[in-house]
Amino acid sequence: MDAIIQMMANAPLLSIIIFLPLVGAILITLMNPAKSHRIKWFAFWVSIATFLISLFLLAGSGGFEKFSHIEQYTWLPQIGVSYHIGVDGISLWLVLLSTFLLPISILSSFSAIRKREKEYYILLLLMGFALTGTFVALDLVLFFLFWESVLIPMYLLIGIWGSGRRIYAATKFVLYTVVGSFFMLLAIIGLYVYSGSFGPGTFDFIYLRSHIAPPELQTWLFLAFFLAFAIKVPLFPFHTWLADAHTEAPTAGSVLLAAVLLKMGGYGFIRFCLTLFPDASVWAAPWIMGLAVISIIYGALVCAAQTDLKRLIALSSVAHMGFVMLGIFSFANTSIGQVGATIQMVSHGITTGALFLLVGVIYERRHTREIAQFGGLASVMPQYYNVFLITMLASVGLPALNGFVGEFLILLGAFRADWALGGLATFGVVLAAVYLLTMFRRVFHGECTKPENQKLLDLNVRELVYLVPLVLLMLWIGLYPKPYLSVIKPAVDRSVRAVMRIASGSVEYARSGEKAATALAQVLSEDTPGGDG
């Protein structure tokens, strides 16, 4: 076993994790579409293999404070683009989250998807490829490519296998996100041009983060990145794509959307916005925290009025991701909020993923998502009831389940940064209980009066297989989050420390080559040589 771990630690793990689903997808293209059974299981085993391999990430090097498993190959040297990937404490759990949810979403589709199965599983695997890539890319062009390539499979997943107004939802999703990405692309090019003004132009994140742009330039670049990430998260006024996309997407699509896609925004903020534009981040933090609080309160209030089960859960993401945003931008005095935000991203992925899977289960049986169509399911589907209960409570943020850990840390951090906003956000905890419990009552409690509900089947083995791991994770993170926190904390601390040091003016901006060199030296002075610089 040790030998295997050793071997895996030396292998280009991240590349394997990224490209294995891609290879799987390519192989599926060669398979006979009529033999859907074979395709399903092949896709499933590919994703399981990816997940298992990704677990070796944990075994390898010591600590994730800095980037580890770094791979860098020249790609387009003429314009300073390289294939540069690596993982640290911030991205590690997100990578594992996406590799973990991929097999689950594949498994959940086995009976739900009946048409064009071959293409469906190809696209799911492609999603896995693009999602993992987004979280490990350390080159802005590479990041942008992965970031954008997530859209294509998702667009098709919603557009082909969605329900109701799927074309509208898919188009809206893509156009909305692309608008943000467009500005981000401009800013990425801007960074390149800037870096070209005192040295060889580059898109390399590691280089750029030690050559910080002057504040006035930062502001504009920050705003461009902000738009892209805020749409993805989504933050308050940019959230309307989410409800439609989540609602109309097939179950697996919703799961990946809510659980992983939204995290790309949050991750982008921590990784790129904060690190590359520290001054602008400090400047913008109160405003973004304000927007985050609005998201929390507004999202919860809007949720309370929904009649569509899936739409309700989708909109609850607005509130929950509001917490994440609040935590990310509460970095001024303490990193607790940002650690909380990072773990909350993972928690929310698990919880909301599970909620969407659960809605998928009932949708598959009843082909409706109207809350009014249900009622009294508790007596018909006891197992389903129990799993839903735990998941719902995790989403409410009940202590000892995963939601609490993140929310508590976020609110603690946010309260330090701004007691008024922190206090308001805390009220969101009350509102979350209002809409989720009401929804739960309307679906499960009361007499089961509708004849079509009375003979619903309880969870089958396959459904239990993909739901139980999620429930176990909820309990694990809720009861013993130490393994997660101990990985996240050093990396977040390091990132926040760098941001605050630059923003407080103790590091020169890299305006000229000479100053850039000093800045580099200063930023990296705390890092051991050859660490990740």
């Binding site: 309307t240 009940l398 922190g422």
Partner: protein, 651 residues
């Protein structure tokens, strides 16, 4: 006692066993396992208690594992063993055990038998977490955990319409309190940098920020949590509705244990409260007001459990009154005695409901003493105890609360103590009246139902036995914390006070037990007045419902308006509904429809529409004729050349 965590682990084990295998096991086994694990908890607590006594004040913490560890934030699974937590743990596990046993009889025919015991075990585990936690956050886990169990158990009969709604109401109202509690926690952390009770006490006492505004703020926010959990005004509204749950649940959660968590919390944080007069006064006033407010509602209610629910609210008000005047140990003492007699009253009422086939309206009862003698005695003992009939448990604890209020800090709050005392005495009068009104209406007056049809019958042994234990407790529990007056007379020292006082911030503001002659006089005076008042209430009930049965109808007519207000519980529920719930609902719907779909999505879609419209305008240019396109291409090429040329020329 380093194995104190077993007290929590055992019920959790019960949860796992019953939760996973309960439906496949025989009912007897489920109930037995559930009860046994609670008995185990009790034994563990008892052993811890004995060990504590043997070590003479061996306050210590047991730390198992780190939970949230992000320096400077350190939260671990740590349990604090001291007088306060041991008293609570013993009370909780003992009463819980009895109620588990009772439930085996009461719920015997219910479909959700295993589910019931799973929830109940979970509740005990959470309650013990709450009282044993050595830091605020772990306490909050228990705090929310019991709230969850309360939600689940209130809504236990989910097929009916009302219980789930009541469950949600309980959970949400509690969460409003928790919101304040959380903010209090945040303030504490950022002021003192720790959540641990022991460290917190040290820093609060050494930093000495007495009267400091943030300190008051913290105390008030934490008290906000207590208001929610312990059903004080204005967040008490969930508790009467919580009676939709099974009666043993009402006894355990909504009378004996969970609702007292707020009192426990205030006592646990007494070191902090003692530093701030304002917060103390607020606590005392809220407590006193709630006490009389709820008692007045209880005067006219007709539902057998609702009377008890309002009575619980009122008694909790007493406890806060005690805590507010600094008599923390008395608050805990009353909590302790109240756990016995209120659980007894609820379980007895459960037996009545059981024997009356689910009837809860007292107007349709009467004369049940003949059919269920045991239950009658149980109820009578409970009522006497709560009314403060001398020498029963409730008498001692309530008397001391009133005395504490009477003597409370005349230097700081001139006359406040007197006002609080008068409120307390009036409440005592109300209490005696409504309890004996209930006795008369249920057990003594003529039956107002069809005896032949309903066949009232006594409860089975498994339900009677625990009640007798509780009844004995309701009689004798007071003797371990005798007031100085009685301690002096019958030579039984007050064991309770020193035991608990070591854990709470005693001494600072507490009116110490009387020593001087003047103090003794005061105590005799207040005690006599309490006794007189209790007997007065009893007598009034006797007069109205026994001697002149039927007078009440005339009174109702004579005081129609006040009667209606009381019967409708001061219209508080309606007020909340009209002020918060309905506008909130409208707000949500409007937000969703008008703002979200209308304005925000409208803007997005308008942008898309404008782009589409521009496309429509430009569309005719795309004629589809190649020669047009060729023309465009040529023109474009020429234009490009011209532009390049101009550009070159400019350079």
């Amino acid at each position: 006692m380093d194995y104190i965590y077993l007290a929590i682990a055992l019920p959790l084990l019960g949860v796992l066993v019953n939760g996973f295998f309960g439906r496949r096991m025989p009912r007897k086994a489920v109930g037995t396992i559930a009860s046994l694990v609670i008995l185990g908890s009790f034994v563990v607590s008892l052993v811890a208690f004995l060990g504590y006594l043997a070590a003479e004040g061996g306050t210590h913490t047991v730390t198992l594992l780190p939970w949230l560890s992000l320096p400077p934030l350190e939260i671990s699974y740590g349990f604090l063993v001291d007088g306060l937590s041991l008293v609570m743990a013993l009370t909780v596990s003992f009463v819980s055990f009895l109620i588990h046993v009772y439930s085996m009889g009461y719920m015997a025919d219910d479909d959700g038998y295993p589910r019931y015991f799973t929830y109940l075990n979970l509740f005990v585990a959470m309650m013990l977490t709450l009282v044993l936690a050595d830091n605020l956050v772990l306490m909050f886990v228990g705090w929310e955990g019991v709230g969850l169990c309360s939600y689940l158990l209130i809504g236990f009969w989910y097929k009916k319409a009302a219980p789930p709604v009541a469950g949600i109401k309980a959970f949400i109202v509690n969460r409003i309190g928790d919101f304040a509690f959380l903010i209090g926690m945040f303030l504490i952390f950022w002021l003192y940098g720790t959540f641990s009770f022991t460290e917190l006490r040290q820093s609060v006492e050494t930093v000495a920020l007495a009267g400091h505004f943030p300190l008051t703020l913290i105390a008030l926010f934490l008290f906000g949590g207590a208001i929610g959990k312990s059903a004080q005004f204005p967040l008490y509204v969930w508790l009467p509705d919580a009676m939709e749950g099974p009666t043993p649940v009402s006894a355990l959660i909504h009378a004996a244990t969970m609702v007292t968590a707020g009192v426990y919390m205030v006592s646990r944080m007494s070191f902090l409260y003692s530093m701030t007069e304002v917060a103390m006064l607020v606590v005392a006033c809220v407590g006193a007001f709630t006490a009389i407010f709820a008692a007045s509602i209880a005067l006219v209610q007709n539902d057998i459990k609702r009377v008890l629910a309002y009575s619980t609210i009122s008694q909790l008000g007493y406890m806060f009154l005690a805590a507010g005047v600094g008599a923390y140990w008395i608050a805990i003492f009353h909590l302790f005695t109240h756990a016995f007699f209120k659980a007894l009253l609820f379980l007895a009422s459960g037996s009545v409901i059981h024997g009356m086939r689910g009837e809860m309206d007292m107007r349709k009862m009467g004369g049940l003493a003949k059919y269920m003698p045991h239950t009658y005695w149980h109820f009578l003992i409970g009522a006497m105890s709560i009314s403060g009939i001398p020498l029963l448990a409730g008498f001692f604890s309530k008397d001391q609360i009133l005395f504490a209020a009477f003597t409370a800090r005349p230097d700081i709050w001139p006359n406040a103590g007197m006002v609080l005392w008068i409120v307390g005495v009036v409440t005592a009068l109300f209490t005696a009246f409504y309890m004996f009104r209930q006795i008369y209406l249920v057990f003594l007056t003529k039956p107002r139902f069809d005896v032949a049809e309903i066949h009232p019958h006594e409860a089975p042994a498994s339900m009677i036995a625990p009640n007798w234990v509780l009844a004995i407790g309701s009689v004798v529990a007071g003797f371990i914390g005798l007031p100085a007056l009685f301690a002096g007379i019958i030579h039984i020292p007050n064991m309770f006070q020193p035991f608990v006082a070591s854990a709470v911030a005693g001494g600072v503001h507490v009116a110490e037990a009387a020593h001087g002659a003047q103090e003794l006089f005061k105590e005799v005076l207040t005690t006599s007045i309490s006794v007189v008042v209790a007997l007065l209430g009893l007598g009034l009930a006797f007069y109205l419902y026994q001697v002149r049965y039927g007078t009440t109808e005339k009174l109702k007519k004579a005081f129609a308006a006040p009667y209606r207000v009381l019967l409708n519980k001061y219209y508080v529920d309606e007020f909340y509904d009209n002020t918060f719930v309905q506008p909130g609902r409208v707000l949500c719907e409007q937000l969703s429809r008008v703002v979200d779909l209308g304005v925000i999505d409208g803007v997005v879609n308008s942008i898309a529409f404008v782009i589409g419209a521009v496309g429509q305008v430009l569309r005719p240019i795309q004629t589809g004729f190649i020669r047009n396109y060729a023309w465009y291409i040529s023109a474009g090429a020429i234009l490009l050349v011209i532009l390049l040329w101009l550009g070159l020329a400019a350079k």
